[in-house]
Structure formats: structure tokens, C-alpha cells
């Protein structure tokens, strides 16, 4: 099931409020609309609620009020298990660091989303898990590392493996939470280029969160979280 099209809206937040504890609101966002296929840069200082926002968009957290619409479906109306399945099928996620399951090798880490979500696996269009993983790994320049123990990889290689895992099965949305802040400058640019080209090829919407504003010029659109977050 391909929910998105390149001209529509990928995600939309309407009057969303969120608090971890009662009375201590972290986020209050009147509106945020992200178009399909867009490359959005969200920035803000540490503690401004970036990870919380991503949790809401990925459906790990549930908004206290308002609507979080992803690919036409309101996540706040779903049951937790439905949100988990939805995330597994439609969203790829990259963390800042330590993205990989330590006891799986590179290949097994990359194919994990497809093994967990049957819907994500169907998106491979009949290609075998290994072939699909190899393809995306080749594109990201880690094709030779498939059977490596992840503990032996450099941080840059680990982040590419994480990118490959988020991209396998061409999810409509890729969310990256400070994926480059542990990389040096040269690797940073190269990593973002690779991520862009893969997302373009897959037609995925990319939401990229960082506090590093030097990356801003590379993106279609930039949003300052403190500006749209009325709770801040």
C-alpha cells in the first residue's frame, strides 16, 4: 500500500499539545504541515522538544490533544499497537548514535524492519531481503561490510548502516534525529548527500532534526522549533 503521493501532504500537526507530566506542557504547536517528498530541516537548542516532536510524528508518543495526521491517518485516533505497526511499515528512523543492535551483524541490522513488519517487506516488490539490503548498502558505500560485526564499524559506517535500515523497503517518511552530530565535517556532508539521493529515489519525505544550523542551506525548508512551539 503506497499511501503517499508527491504532491500531497505527508504529515500535519493541528493544535497539538503534549506533556510528559500533568501541567508541564512541553509542546504546543498550532500547525505544522510537511509536504510529501519534502526535505525539512527542524532546528532548535537542546531541550527545546525536538525528540518529543519526533516521538509524536513517529507515533511512539501520543498527543494529549489535537491531531497528528501522517499519510492521511490520525495517529491520535489509533491504538498503541496500531501506531507501532504503522511506524514499522511507513517510517524509517535514524538516531544520533548507537543505532544498531549489538548482537546482529550489518546485514541483519539492515533487514530488521522488514522482518518485523510484513507490510514493509511487501514493499520490496518480491526482491529477497538480502538483495534489497545489498542494493541500499551499495548505494551508501557499505556493500563490503554486510557480514561485519557492528561493534567493529567506525561511527560513520554505523550511521550509514542506520541509514540503510531506515531506507530499506522505501518508507514514505524518513526521520533523522541529529544523525550527523557525531560525524566530522567531511563525513557529515557526504552522509547528507547520500541520504538525500536515496530519499529522492524512493520518493520519501525526509525530516531532519539538528541543532547545527550550518546544514540549513542544504534543505528545501527550515523550521525553528522554538518559533512554532508556543509552550517553549
Amino acid at each position: 500500500m503506497r499511501v503517499t503521493n508527491t504532491t500531497g501532504t505527508a504529515m500535519q500537526l493541528d493544535v497539538v499539545r503534549f506533556a510528559y507530566r500533568k501541567g508541564r506542557e512541553v509542546l504546543r504547536i498550532p500547525n505544522l504541515t510537511i509536504s510529501a517528498g519534502e526535505r525539512l530541516f527542524i532546528f532548535g537548542p537542546s531541550g527545546s522538544g525536538k525528540t518529543t516532536l519526533l516521538g509524536l510524528l513517529a507515533g511512539v508518543l501520543r498527543a494529549g490533544s489535537g491531531a497528528v495526521t501522517v499519510l492521511g491517518r490520525d495517529l491520535t485516533a489509533m491504538k498503541p499497537a496500531e501506531r507501532d505497526a504503522f511506524r514499522g511499515a511507513h517510517i524509517g528512523y535514524i538516531f544520533q548514535l548507537f543505532n544498531l543492535i549489538p548482537y546482529l551483524d550489518v546485514l541483519d541490522n539492515i533487514v530488521l524492519p522488514c522482518r518485523l513488519s510484513a507490510e514493509r517487506r511487501r514493499r520490496l516488490n518480491g526482491a529477497s531481503l538480502e538483495a534489497a539490503a545489498r542494493r541500499v548498502a551499495e548505494h551508501l558505500g557499505i556493500g563490503a561490510l554486510m557480514r561485519e560485526n557492528v561493534a567493529r564499524l567506525s561511527v560513520g559506517q554505523q550511521q550509514r548502516v542506520a541509514a540503510a535500515r531506515s531506507l530499506i523497503g522505501t518508507p514514505e517518511i524518513v526521520i533523522a534525529d541529529e544523525p550527523t552530530s557525531s560525524l566530522d565535517h567531511d563525513h557529515r556532508e557526504k552522509f547528507i548527500e547520500l541520504l538525500f539521493s536515496e530519499c529522492r529515489e524512493a520518493g520519501s519525505t525526509l525530516i531532519f532534526v539538528s541543532h547545527d544550523r550550518t546544514l540549513m542551506p542544504l534543505f528545501d525548508r527550515c523550521v525553528s522549533l522554538p518559533d512554532i512551539n508556543e509552550a517553549a
Binding site: 525528540t51 519526533l54 516521538g55 513517529a58 511512539v60 508518543l61 498503541p80 499497537a81 507501532d84 505497526a85 511506524r87 514499522g88 511499515a89 528512523y93 538516531f95 544520533q96 548514535l97 548507537f98 543505532n99 544498531l100 543492535i101 549489538p102 548482537y103 546482529l104 530488521l112 524492519p113 522482518r115 518485523l116 513488519s117 514493509r120 535500515r165 534525529d177
Partner: protein, 421 residues
């Protein structure tokens, strides 16, 4: 399936901790199953202390007392039975064989049993094992004695040694020794690992000959006793025995014979079925095995708690792993399943290893244990109790897995995709 394989790979990744946990569970399971096996073996061996005997017959009294003095050579009879009564049943048409016992004398703490040649040919223990000799043969003359293996080992006797029997039961030197009529050792019995080993065996006539010329329970005055050289087996007239073992021609006759013996007139006799009496005795001394079982259950609890500790302490370092799994679409329930599967796998592996361990050890030590302790440890499929123990360990492992799993579930909900290092 994916989560099970993840659980397996995660355990493999933490090889040392997993191996230690599996090993500690295996040891507790081995102990639990081993104790059950020894318990079974002990009960089995105990109930086969005497075999193929349908009835034990003695003067009327307590059935336990009869069992104790006739089989275990403990305590003593309050009354003897006349030789006539014995012959009456020995020649009974429904009786296949009998073995008479005449008790009451001892030698340095070991009981002396007067019996006949039937003891050496008919007596059975541990289902179908019979009396055999490591040296010599069964007594043929009045003043010959065959000794059990414990007697031979404890007193260092060899064939041809002369022994003096003591009137009554006492350890060490008795007050009234039959010094004038010593017995010569003609045979040493092979070890049976039953009370048979702890006795000396003389012919019924020998028992009678010792007490020849005695009157009113006192020895004859010096000079009045018949010299041993003038005593011949065929001249001895047996007046009484203490008890006898009886084998019926058919098992169906046993109960009828028992009733007949119990209602015998005029002499008051009593017959007990050894299996029943042994079972009663076992129940009275069986508390020890319950205590042992309780201890092993505690050992098992400690083993499982060890697993709980190792899983629980690993949770903090695994919070990242849980966040990653959440990010790729795993729900909190999947996280719970993963951890429960891990502890389940550990418990299962521990149980399998433990059972293998106990069966391997049993198989290896079986001959030695049987020889030294008279304990036959059967290498058979686990009993229903054994299976119940094993399943209980795995189920307990799964249940214990819920403790770290619920903690991980809470972590997963609280952490979300947040980075907690």
C-alpha cells in the same frame, strides 16, 4: 519467530553471563531430578530388600517388629514358634518353599541366624538375585558357619577361622559365650547390600547344639555338657524356631494362607506380606526424603533468582536496544515477549542440560552406587513427578522473565525514542 531468534542471538551475544546462568539452573535442576531419582531408587531398593517371599511368619506380635527382626536383623522376637507349627505350614499343599530362621544369638554385635540349606538356594533379594559365595560354601556340619560380607570385612575373618557365638544379643564380648562349642567358618557370602551382609549363618541344628544341655535358660554346669565331638547333625532334634519365610505356589493363595496362619490354633502365629510391611516402614522413615526435597526446591529458587538478577541488571545497558526496536515498529508487548523469551530459553537450556547431567552421572555411577550403598539407581524415563519438576522450572523461568520484562515495558513507554545512555 523473529523475536525468538533475536532472544537467542541476544543471549549468545552475552555468552558468559548466559552460560553461567544456564549452568546454575542446570545444577539446581540436576539436584532436583537427582534427588527424585535417588528417592525412587531408595524406595525401590528398600522394597526389594527381600524378594519372592510371599509371607513372613512369626509369633503373634507387632507386624513391624516381625519385619525388623526377620528381615533387618533388628530388635528381637518376644516369642518363638514351635517346630511342629513350622512343619505344619512347610508341608502345606499350597506352599512352595519355606526358609526357617532361628534367632537370638550373636557374635561381636552381629546377629547369628540358624537356618537351613533352603536359605542358600531359595532366598531372593532385589527381584531375582540369590545368595552367592565369594569363598567357600554353605555349612554342611553342625559347627560350621557362613558369614555375611560385612561381618567378614569388619572382623577380618577368613575361611577356616574359628568363632565363638554369644548367647543373646550384645556387642563385643558377651556375658555367656558358647566357648565350649566354637564354629568354623566354611563360607563367606557375596555382598548383597542388604541386611543379609550383617549376619552369620549356622545350621538350625548348630543353633540347637549350642544350647544342648541348657536348662531354664542357663548353661550346663562344667563337666555335664556333651562334648562337641559327640554332637552329630542327625541326632539334633529341633524344638523351636523364631520365624520363617514362605513362598506360596500361586500368588492367589497368599491371602488365604495369611488368614489361615493368622487364625492358627492353638499356637498364635502371625503372617505379614513383606511388600505391605516394607511400605509401612518406608512411610515412617520417609520424612528424611521430604526434607531433602524441600532443600532442593530452595536450591532451585536460588538458581532462578540468579537468572532474574542477571537479566534485570542487563536491562539498563539494553535500553538503547529497546529504543531501536521501538523505532522500527516493535510495540512494548514485543519487548515484553523478547525478555520473557530470553528467560524462557535460559530456563529451558538449563533444564535440558541439568537432566542430561543427572542422567549421564547416574549412568556412570550406577554400578559403584549399587555396590557400595545397595542403592539401584534406575536410568529410566522421568516419572510424572520428574516431568512436573522440569515443566515447573521452565514455567518458573518464563514467569520470572516477566519481572525484567515489565520493567523494560515501563522503560520503553517512558523512553520512547529518547536517547538515554
Amino acid at each position: 519467530m523473529l523475536l525468538l531468534s533475536l532472544a537467542y542471538q541476544s543471549l549468545r551475544h552475552r555468552k558468559l553471563t548466559s552460560a553461567l546462568t544456564v549452568f546454575s539452573i542446570a545444577l539446581s535442576v540436576a539436584l532436583l531430578v537427582g534427588v527424585e531419582l535417588v528417592r525412587m531408587g531408595a524406595r525401590e531398593s528398600f522394597s526389594h530388600t527381600i524378594s519372592q517371599t510371599d509371607l513372613i511368619v512369626g509369633a503373634r506380635g507387632g507386624s513391624l517388629q516381625l519385619l525388623l527382626y526377620a528381615v533387618f536383623r533388628m530388635g528381637s522376637a518376644t516369642n518363638n514358634i514351635t517346630y511342629e507349627s513350622y512343619r505344619q505350614f512347610a508341608e502345606h499343599p499350597a506352599v512352595e518353599w519355606t526358609i526357617p530362621y532361628s534367632l537370638g544369638d550373636s557374635h561381636r554385635g552381629f546377629r547369628v541366624v540358624g537356618t537351613t540349606g533352603d536359605f542358600y538356594t531359595r532366598y531372593r533379594f532385589r527381584r531375582d538375585r540369590r545368595i552367592e559365595f565369594t569363598a567357600g560354601h554353605a555349612p554342611e556340619n553342625v559347627f560350621q558357619v557362613a558369614i555375611g560380607s560385612d561381618v567378614a570385612a569388619a572382623l577380618g575373618y577368613r575361611l577356616g577361622d574359628a568363632v565363638t557365638l554369644t548367647h543373646g544379643v550384645s556387642s563385643g564380648r558377651g556375658i555367656l559365650d558358647h566357648e565350649d562349642r566354637p564354629f568354623k567358618i566354611c563360607g563367606i557370602l557375596q555382598r548383597t547390600a542388604t541386611p543379609v551382609d550383617r549376619s552369620l549363618y549356622v545350621p538350625l541344628e548348630g543353633m540347637e547344639a549350642m544350647h544342648l544341655d541348657w536348662g531354664d535358660g542357663a548353661p550346663p554346669l562344667p563337666g555335664e555338657a556333651t562334648p562337641a565331638s559327640k554332637i552329630h547333625k542327625e541326632d539334633m532334634k529341633i524344638k523351636q524356631i523364631t520365624a520363617f519365610l514362605l513362598r506360596a505356589k500361586s500368588r492367589i493363595d497368599t491371602l488365604r494362607l495369611q488368614r489361615e496362619i493368622n487364625t492358627n490354633e492353638p499356637e498364635a502365629l502371625m503372617a505379614v506380606i513383606p511388600g505391605v510391611a516394607l511400605g509401612e516402614l518406608w512411610r515412617t522413615i520417609g520424612y528424611a526424603e521430604d526434607a531433602l526435597a524441600v532443600v532442593t526446591v530452595f536450591v532451585l529458587v536460588v538458581g532462578l533468582l540468579g537468572m532474574l538478577v542477571s537479566l534485570y541488571t542487563s536491562l539498563n545497558e539494553r535500553r538503547r536496544e529497546m529504543a531501536i526496536l521501538r523505532a522500527i515498529g516493535a510495540g512494548p508487548r514485543n519487548i515484553v515477549f523478547l525478555l520473557v523469551a530470553e528467560s524462557g530459553l535460559l530456563a529451558l537450556a538449563g533444564t535440558v542440560l541439568g537432566v542430561a547431567l543427572v542422567y549421564g552421572l547416574t549412568w556412570l555411577s550406577q554400578p559403584a552406587v549399587e555396590h557400595h550403598f545397595g542403592l539401584f539407581l534406575p536410568v529410566v524415563a522421568p516419572t510424572p513427578t520428574g516431568w512436573a519438576y522440569m515443566s515447573a522450572v521452565v514455567v518458573a523461568g518464563l514467569l520470572i522473565g516477566f519481572v525484567p520484562a515489565v520493567k523494560a515495558y515501563r522503560n520503553a513507554l517512558a523512553d520512547g525514542l529518547g536517547i538515554r545512555l
